[in-house]
């Protein structure tokens, strides 16, 4: 069985990529399954999706613990969510990172050992679609590693999945071009060699120790302010920027911010905590003096 795990941020197309790859396998006559893990996630939050393919009916479900290939659509996740990206990764596991191949050494410095490859999906998307929609390119690059999948199947799969997501025929054609270009230039990765026997000889079960009623009998957090430990600033696709010369110190941004990411200084001027601001732009909407502008995050 071939198991591919995609890591991206909400809105970047990891789910659609896993579906295009799944549909490509389906159209090529393979047994396939694709799956995305979401629910509480938001645009910009780390998300993960999966595609399984085999010649036999698939009897595994859920999270892929032992991937044959990991695709990282947003390189910032390598450092920000290593627990997710490197889960079940061994030194021989191929990891395909969306980034400039010339920067592979810099991107992967200090990371756990793995078989790293780079392909610039953003560049392909810009050239073929005109915008950074990388689903089709990610699927095309991944399909290159699976000999049973033909370029014709990839084209049909892209059209089918893009139509399902409600985009126009013109955009579908551009996405097909993106997928085929990624397929053309993607590195040929041997993903079959990375098959490890994770399932053998691990821990036996053990009973949960009974803790009594005093500590953590229920899901209670005693550590006040612990939300600050989890940076969510990387979720932003846009950032609010405050022009303090226009600010009348009305506090509306401070009051409306749903993440308490607006802080007041000693003179009661607001400042954005960019480590935690998720870029919802409610402050921008509420500011009565237009002192807050929006800037795209690159």
């Amino acid at each position: 069985m071939i198991q591919v795990r995609f890591h991206g941020r909400g809105g970047q197309g990891a789910k659609i990529a896993s579906r295009i790859l799944g549909r490509s396998g389906f159209l090529s006559g393979l047994q396939v399954q694709d799956f995305a893990l979401f629910g509480a996630e938001r645009r910009g939050a780390p998300v993960v999706s999966f595609t399984r393919m085999d010649n036999e009916p698939i009897d595994q479900r859920g999270y892929i613990d032992d991937p044959n290939l990991v695709v990282v659509i947003d390189d910032s996740l390598l450092k920000e969510a290593p627990g997710q990206v490197f889960y079940g990764v061994e030194p021989s596991t191929p990891i395909l990172v969306n980034g400039d191949p010339n920067a592979l050494g810099i991107l992967t410095r200090d990371l756990p050992p793995a078989d790293y490859y780079c392909i610039d999906l953003n560049q392909i998307a810009r050239q073929t679609i005109g915008r950074v929609f990388v689903s089709a390119a990610a699927a095309g690059a991944t399909a290159k590693c699976i000999p049973a999948i033909t370029p014709a199947a990839i084209s049909d799969a892209v059209k089918c999945e893009i139509a399902d997501s409600g985009l126009t025929a013109d955009l579908a054609e551009k996405n097909v071009a993106a997928a085929l270009e990624a397929y053309r230039i993607a590195p040929m990765v041997n993903i079959l060699r990375s098959s490890h026997a994770l399932r053998a000889g691990e821990l036996p079960w053990q009973a949960v120790p009974y803790l009594g009623s005093s500590r953590f009998a229920g899901p209670t957090i005693r550590h006040r302010g612990s939300a600050a430990l989890r940076p969510t600033g990387n979720w932003r696709s846009e950032r609010p920027v405050i022009d303090l010369t226009k600010c009348k110190r009305c506090f509306l941004c401070y009051l409306y911010c749903p993440e308490a990411a607006m802080q007041l200084d000693e003179e009661n001027f607001p400042h954005v905590d960019y480590d935690h601001c998720k870029g919802c732009m409610i402050c921008y909407e509420e500011c009565p003096t237009d002192a807050i502008s929006r800037r795209a995050e690159l």
Binding site: R19, G22, R23, F26, Q31, V32, Q33, D34, F35, A36, L37, F38, G39, A40, I58, D59, Q60, R61, G62, Y63, L198, R199, A200, G201, E202, L203, P204, W205, Q206, A207, V208, P209, R215, F216, G218, P219, T220, I221, R222, H223, R224, G225, S226, L229
Partner: protein, 409 residues
């Protein structure tokens, strides 16, 4: 017939569409929302001539389902977890009025602690309501069970509503290849609903839900429901055989997997049974005589089929993806009762609790369960208590969360 890729949720929507349901009261909840989202799109675009109404809660949703079903139209609705328990009162009301509708439940563990992934405390809370219950392993089974569900529910000798259950995430968001039958084929199997009576009939008006203060009358109607569920047990094999002839797929009340010469049997339900089958295959290739029985029909409880699958075995392990706090696995208790009267009942019968809140099985756990069965020297105390699956590694991981949760600022 079209072969395509569908999630469990999309398969549920297709089931409702192919059943040509008339009315869909709806309220969204993760992980069920994709079902009503899909149906709403089809209704809006004229692809499905049903009336879909967004309600203000699951209680209202199920009340509307009740009212609509009473008028004699075919009703479909769907919820999950918190939504099911919020509308819980209406489940008894619908079943007690003998209204044959289909409700899809997308299993999600109940709060608190709040989570999104599946276990079966939600759907099994409805086990005593009078709804028949089909628990699905695959997307295909979800679609098929909705069609089977209407045939069962609307059968003149049954007239009980049906819950079709699928696991959130593991099935609801998982796409796999499935056969979507065409409408003409489905109409042959499932003609339009012809109710025995309805409130809004222009000929014979009736009053539904009369108050019954006489205990004997109350008892009479509850017995009627139980007899109807027993009748469902008799009728199901005929309907499932007819379905098999038409569509080439069998959905027996208990699915037997590698059971032929098995000394040891693991009992599971729903989508985690796929992973159980993979483990059984692995253990088989290591020479172990083990098989899996999947309980597909939970209500009515298929006692005869379970006895046939489990009698004469050396050991049986029941994996419950639920926990009745203070007792243990709900299905274990029911299966133990089903086996008790047999002279050749399995000498070892063990209860394991797994998959709570979507917890996946860890490597070695199936080997460990089989070892326990093979030991064949279990005490009555060990057989009476539930064994809660957890690992030392998980304990350490939980400790890491606790360290954050309790640190003084």
């Amino acid at each position: 017939m079209t072969r395509t890729m569908l999630t469990g949720n999309a398969a549920a929507a297709w089931g409702a569409r192919l059943a040509e349901v008339d009315y869909v009261p709806a309220f969204p909840i993760t992980p069920q929302t994709e079902i009503i989202d899909t149906l709403a799109r089809w209704c809006r675009d004229g692809e499905m001539p049903a009336k879909l109404v967004m309600m203000d809660s699951e209680h209202s949703m199920l009340a509307a389902a009740l009212g609509a079903a009473a008028t004699g139209v075919r009703v479909f609705t769907a919820t999950s977890s918190q939504g099911l328990v919020y509308g819980f009162e209406m489940l008894y009301a619908i079943a007690g009025l003998r209204l044959p509708l289909v409700l899809v439940n997308v299993s999600r563990a109940l709060a608190n602690p709040i989570t999104l992934e599946p276990d079966h405390n939600d759907v099994l809370s409805a086990r005593d309501t009078g709804f028949l219950q089909f628990h699905c392993e695959t997307s295909q089974e979800v679609l098929d069970s909705i069609l089977l569900g209407y045939r069962m529910a609307e059968h003149a000798k049954i007239l009980l509503p049906v819950i079709v259950n699928l696991d959130g995430f593991y099935l609801s968001f998982t796409r796999e290849p499935i056969d979507v039958p065409n409408l003409a084929e489905v109409r042959q199997f499932l003609p339009g609903f012809a109710p025995a009576y309805s409130v809004l009939s222009d000929k014979d008006s009736v009053a539904l839900g009369a108050t019954v203060l006489d205990p004997s009358l109350y008892t009479y109607f509850k017995h009627q429901m139980h007899h109807a569920a027993e009748a469902a047990l008799e009728i199901y094999p005929q309907i499932v055989a007819e379905f098999g002839e038409r569509f080439g797929r069998r959905h027996d009340a208990v699915e037997e997997f590698m059971l032929d010469d098995a000394d040891y049997v693991i009992v599971m339900t729903n989508s985690f049974a796929s992973m159980g089958k993979a483990e059984v295959k692995r253990l088989r290739s290591a020479g172990k005589k083990v098989g899996l029985a999947r309980l597909r029909m939970v209500r009515p409880f298929p006692v005869d089929d379970l006895q046939a699958a489990l009698r004469g075995r050396k050991g049986v392990a029941v994996i419950d993806q639920n926990i009745s706090v203070g007792k243990g696995g709900i299905l274990f208790s029911e299966i133990a009762a089903a086996l008790y009267g047999l002279i050749d009942r399995p000498p070892v019968l063990l209860s394991f609790i797994g998959g709570l809140g979507g917890r996946r099985f860890r490597p070695g756990e199936f080997d460990g369960m089989l070892e326990r069965l093979e030991r064949s020297e279990e005490t009555s105390a060990e057989m009476a208590r539930p064994h809660l699956l957890f690992t030392a590694a998980e304990c350490r991981e939980v400790g890491r969360f606790f360290a954050v949760a309790e640190r003084e600022p």
